[in-house]
């Protein structure tokens, strides 16, 4: 595993009016690692994702992707630099079919861009790759169903598919198992494990079972600050984490 930093945050701060949501986060995420951010609700995990992916502007601090600053960049530019994200609330093109959703995710990366002189359906490479993805996601039988009509778990899988489809080297997944039972969640985790074999994964997760199972390293975000960042075993043993996060759970 290389030790180059895929993503590095230094002194990242975000205020909403007077409220400080992110209070100076420093975080280095190595290339090809699976990094999970945990923390209680309202700790600012989703906000942190919004800052990294360019959906919101940072108040202070800097975010670097493979050494290049991306703070203040618009989402599509961040995406083109190799970072892609999923959303906590399913965020697809509801009127398009599964296949069409995946094709949309592939178009930019496969250099079709704003072309208006060629037909999408003639780009067999795109279709092929979308079919492959669909197989990986286990959605082949739902090929021509509009995304809005898929079941919740299928939508979540498609959401992950669109995220990896854009050829990103760094993936941000925001609670991919939210609202699922353990069995469903396990399937999704297996899917994530498969599709993130050669890229960097940053994930927000609530389900600690999933977290300890999947993560190379874990960061604990509490009240807008990273209070610990270490291997699962070390985090489990960390007294401050026990106190601030795990300590609030039932023993």
């Amino acid at each position: 595993m290389s030790t180059q930093n895929a993503l590095s945050l230094s002194g990242v701060t975000k205020n909403f009016g007077k409220a400080e949501i992110i209070r100076g986060v420093d975080l280095d995420i190595r290339e090809n690692e699976r990094h999970v951010i945990i923390g209680p609700n309202g700790a600012g995990k989703s906000t942190l994702f919004n800052l990294i992916s360019g959906r919101m502007d940072v108040t202070a601090g800097e975010i670097k992707l493979f050494g290049n600053s991306i703070s203040g960049m618009s989402p599509h530019k961040v995406n083109r630099m190799g970072l892609s994200r999923s959303f906590q609330v399913t965020n697809l093109f509801p009127n398009m079919t599964t296949l069409q959703n995946l094709k949309c995710a592939l178009l930019w990366d496969m250099k079709h861009r704003y072309a208006f002189w060629k037909l999408v359906n003639r780009q067999h490479a795109v279709t092929e790759k979308a079919e492959q993805l669909m197989e990986q996601l286990n959605l082949v039988h739902r090929r021509d169903v509009p995304a809005g009509l898929l079941t919740y778990a299928e939508q979540r899988a498609l959401e992950i598919g669109t995220t990896i489809g854009s050829g990103a080297k760094v993936l941000l997944l925001d609670e991919p198992t939210a609202g699922m039972s353990r069995t469903e969640a396990d399937e999704v985790v297996e899917l994530i494990r498969q599709v993130t074999r050669d890229c960097t994964l940053v994930m927000v997760e609530h389900d600690l079972g999933v977290v300890f199972n999947l993560a190379d390293r874990i960061s604990v975000l509490v009240y807008g600050e990273v209070i610990a960042c270490d291997t699962p075993e070390a985090v489990r043993a960390n007294a401050a984490v026990q106190e601030a996060y795990l300590g609030t759970e039932v023993h």
Partner: protein, 231 residues
């Protein structure tokens, strides 16, 4: 006091609630716990009429599904939403005033009484809502709902993103409110708080209630905790 029977709800095309049955009695705190995205907030909104529910919702033994939110509020149901929803441009007094349902018609909660319970709000009375801190905004939202003299309040994640000290204050407040004979339906992420102050707990999963019982019973049931809650 408040009861739902096989309630379903949809957001657009996705089926969020898949048959929820639960009830809350006067003077007790009942917590809804479960992972993110299982539909706890949607349940609150369905009860309040902000999302159209399918199934039966009863309040004080009268069906209220299909009624408008303001009609439900007038029956004595109060709602403290997750995002707090204070009116940013209005002052604290004006925010509280909007909690009163009819001009000058106060019930158990007058301005004086509210200030006694929430001394911080007295200090901030003429400040616009948007400059309050997160904890103060949460207090204001709860106070504003109390101004409407509800017999039952639905509190959605009141401690989200707040410092531990304020979380404790809010937990104490909820207990005091319940002592006043008000039914409290609490959505809470922090299991320890929910376990400490609730009389009963519902665990939700996949849009349904998958466990109901006292905090002690949940404590003694590791399978449910493992399958539907964290750790």
């Amino acid at each position: 006091m408040l009861a739902t029977n096989d309630v379903h709800a949809y957001y657009g095309k996705s089926h969020v609630l898949r048959g929820v049955t639960m009830n809350v009695q006067a003077g007790e705190i009942v917590s809804l716990v479960g992972r993110n995205g299982v539909g706890r907030s949607t349940l609150c909104k369905s009860v309040m009429g902000l999302v159209a529910p399918v199934g039966e919702v009863r309040f004080k033994d009268r069906p209220i599904n299909g009624k408008q939110p303001h009609q439900i509020a007038h029956l004595g149901l109060g709602y403290v939403p997750e995002d707090r929803a204070i009116f940013p441009g209005l002052t604290v007094i004006e925010n509280l005033e909007l909690g009163v349902k009819k001009r000058g018609k106060f019930g158990r909660w007058t301005f004086e009484e509210i200030y006694k319970w929430f001394p911080r709000l007295r200090e901030r009375a003429t400040f616009p809502g948007e400059v309050l801190s997160g904890g103060e905004q949460q207090m204001l939202t709860m106070a504003r709902t109390l101004m409407g003299d509800p017999q039952c309040i639905i509190v959605d994640e009141p401690t989200e993103g707040l410092a531990p000290k304020i979380v404790q204050e809010i937990a104490d407040l909820l207990q005091q409110i319940a002592k006043e004979g008000i039914a409290v339906l609490l959505v809470e992420q922090k299991l320890s708080i929910a376990m400490k102050i609730s009389n009963r707990v519902y665990v939700m999963g996949e849009g349904k209630v998958v466990f109901d019982g006292t905090p002690q019973e949940l404590q003694d049931n590791p399978e449910v905790r493992k399958e539907w809650l964290e750790v």
